[in-house]
Amino acid sequence: MPEPRPRVALFVTCLVDLFRPTVGFAAIRLLEQAGCEVAVPMAQTCCGQPAFNSGDRATARDLARRVVDAFLPYDFTVVPSGSCGGMIARHIPTLFEDDPAYRGKAERLAAKTHELVSFLRDVRGMERVEAAYHGTATYHDSCSGLREMGVKAQPRALLASVAGLSLVEMAEPETCCGFGGTFCVKYPEISLRMASDKTKDIASTGADTLLAGDMGCLLNIAGRLRREGSTVRVRHVAEVLAGMTDSVPPIGAARE
């Protein structure tokens, strides 16, 4: 008897929902290729991270409770972002230290929440993807994905199976790009300096494409590259892995 298809809830993330819907559809395609049945709970808006990181615990807790209620019924929750994934998998349970009922639920949800690419590779054992991309890409390790969700080798392994794509490493792929949520508008000069260090590192690789797994970093890096007049194409890793780069121009590039 074939193994039943796991029911995966996609946590779209607000930035994908608003700025880059294609990433959400790429995630659905990849999850289905990995043998999952995908649902998109309609009650979702935001994981609450902006409130959490601004010190507004009450609002964060309120939004977290909604996330827990909407996503707990599924076998897995998968997020095309290490940052929002980290919020659900690492931080939401800490919001319920004095609420035993929700603490348990939040911990159960946390234990079955994964960043998209690590889920495909580590949980579903995906070995390769059927996709092609012509170019040389360099991969930025977004901070939360790397340090909270253990995303490092998985995207590189799957990208290696993309036809026509070659990967080159930056000198400091693990250094923050300076996005940091509200940090980028609270301390714009420091944020810009960090973004510029990142774009310099990207330029020195000679790559024509920058990939990462988090929309926050991607908007920041793409925005800085655009301002510098760079021609480097910026995309979410899921778009490339799902072979959906023809359906939308790179982030920050003209559509008409």
Binding site: P50, G55, C184, A254
Partner: protein, 476 residues
């Protein structure tokens, strides 16, 4: 005392970013520290396990801090030393001055000590007619320049060789003006000649302590220049300036930290000098002080015990956090505006000077987590910075614009249907406006973002709208 400029962090940071000399110095030190630490950690198979052990030793000690401090003090007294318990910086300054006066001191040599910066002992001694002489090379040049340290283990890392040469030529006026300062060696030779006389002339030597050992009553210093040893063995009186969280239970425990400290700090397996001092000179000893005083400072630390900030008391001042911090590497240490810069300072400074003055520091972080990933005692620095943000939010210290923005956004986020409708309209407008260029060079209310980068335009549809449409089509 270090003049507090943390409230002006933003202005400090802006100045630092356009300071060419500082940027040159930062660019030089960063790759060095990170690569060396990585190599040293990789070279010790049990390094990661040691971090857990070190964390646990500190947690145990902090849970029984009163016991270990009393034990330590009893051992110091048994070895002929004296412990001065100081609740505040003022108490500590008074204690040091009292000891120096009783010794009839004119000149006091000093090893490197961040506590001495915290309590501002140099200015206090000078005001009372006693000359303090810094003997750590970095601290020495900062004393010449009347500048505070910018880094907790490399106090003068913000300076370049030209700065050193200039300060030495200006200050050492009795030496021939045509002497050469081509290399580090030249600077070292001159400093050594000068400091040697000071070591011999000093009546009192003040050092810090990396660890205080309860089992033996010993204080431990690690240095690379040997100046600490000359400071504590040559004068008649040795004063150890240390804060209460420096205590560890046993010699063996101290050795766990010694294996982590230099590797985390400079990437050395071990510092050049590691010196244990226990009490006064005994009859059979060839050298050592006749008086041994420990000025033990609290200065608000005991208030951290039992709070989430207790974790911060594990800190062993290795500076790995700032060496790996992209914010510190961008603006340097002085921008933080007080004694302790970088991630550890962003947690500690608000405790010591008040979050209403140092509120910027825990906010000026992207929470990238690199600091925590290299901390030898696994202090959850981002989590503790977030705790400060929570306290600021509770006390209404968070800027009104941020509070309003959060409330506005949260109001929508709690109402999924309305949220979808509003975001759909907004993204359709933005997507249409940005379709030709693909990005915005300027947008109302987005000045912080667009000052130096474009804002990529959204696709136009929201995911939720497109997904709902597709589902309807499938059903039909």
């Amino acid at each position: 005392m270090v003049h507090l400029t943390s409230p002006a962090f933003k202005a400090n940071a802006a100045r630092a970013l356009s300071d060419a000399g500082l940027q040159k110095a930062l660019a030089r030190s960063k790759p060095q520290f990170q690569a060396k630490r990585a190599k040293a950690a990789a070279g010790l198979p049990e390094f990661e396990a040691l971090r857990d052990i070190a964390r646990d030793i500190k947690n145990h000690t902090l849970a029984h801090l009163d016991f270990y401090l009393e034990d330590y003090a009893a051992k110091v007294e048994a070895a002929g030393g004296t412990v001065h318990w100081c609740a505040t910086a003022e108490d500590a300054r008074a204690a040091v001055l009292r000891i120096c006066r009783a010794a009839g001191a004119r000149t006091v040599t000093k090893g490197k000590s961040m506590i001495s910066e915290e309590i501002g002992i140099n200015e206090h001694l000078e005001a009372h007619g006693i000359t303090p002489v810094e003997t750590d090379l970095g601290e020495y040049i900062l004393q010449l320049r009347r500048e505070p340290p910018s880094h907790i283990i490399g106090p003068a890392f913000h300076l370049n060789r030209e700065d050193w040469e200039k300060s030495f030529r200006e200050s050492h006026t009795d030496l021939p003006p045509d002497r050469e300062f081509r290399e580090r060696r030249d600077i070292l030779a001159e400093a050594r000649t000068l400091l040697r006389q000071k070591f011999l002339a000093a009546d009192v030597g003040i050092t810090g302590a990396n660890f205080l050992i309860a089992e033996t009553g010993s204080s431990v210093i690690v240095t690379n220049e040997g100046n600490g040893d000359l400071t504590q063995t040559l004068p008649r009186v040795h004063i150890v300036l240390a804060s209460i969280e420096k205590v560890v239970p046993t010699l063996e425990d101290a050795c766990v930290f010694l294996r982590l400290l230099a590797r985390s700090a400079t990437g050395q397996d071990f510092s050049v000098y590691t010196t244990f001092s226990t009490g006064i000179r005994r009859e059979t000893d060839l050298d050592g002080p006749h008086e041994y005083h420990v000025v033990l400072l609290d200065n608000g630390r005991s208030n951290m015990v039992g709070t989430p900030f207790q974790d911060m008391l594990r800190c062993i001042r290795c500076a790995a956090c700032m060496n790996h911090c992209p914010v510190y590497q961008s603006v340097g240490g002085h921008a933080y505006g007080w004694v302790y810069p970088g991630p550890m300072g962003s947690v500690l400074t608000p405790t010591l000077v008040g979050v209403e003055k140092a509120g910027h520091l825990p906010n000026a972080s992207t929470f990238c987590g690199k600091c925590e990933s290299v901390c030898p005692v696994k202090i959850p620095l981002p989590k503790l910075m977030r705790h400060w943000r929570e306290r600021e939010f509770e006390r209404h210290l968070t800027p009104a614009t941020t509070r309003f923005g959060l409330r506005f956004w949260a109001w929508f986020a709690r109402r999924p249907t309305l949220y979808r409708w509003a975001t759909r309209a907004a993204m359709a407008t933005l997507g249409w406006a940005g379709r030709k260029r693909g990005a915005f060079a300027a947008l109302p209310l987005a000045g912080g973002w667009t000052a130096g980068r474009d804002l990529p335009a959204p696709e136009g549809d929201t995911f939720m709208a497109r997904y709902a449409r597709q589902r309807r089509e499938v059903r039909r």
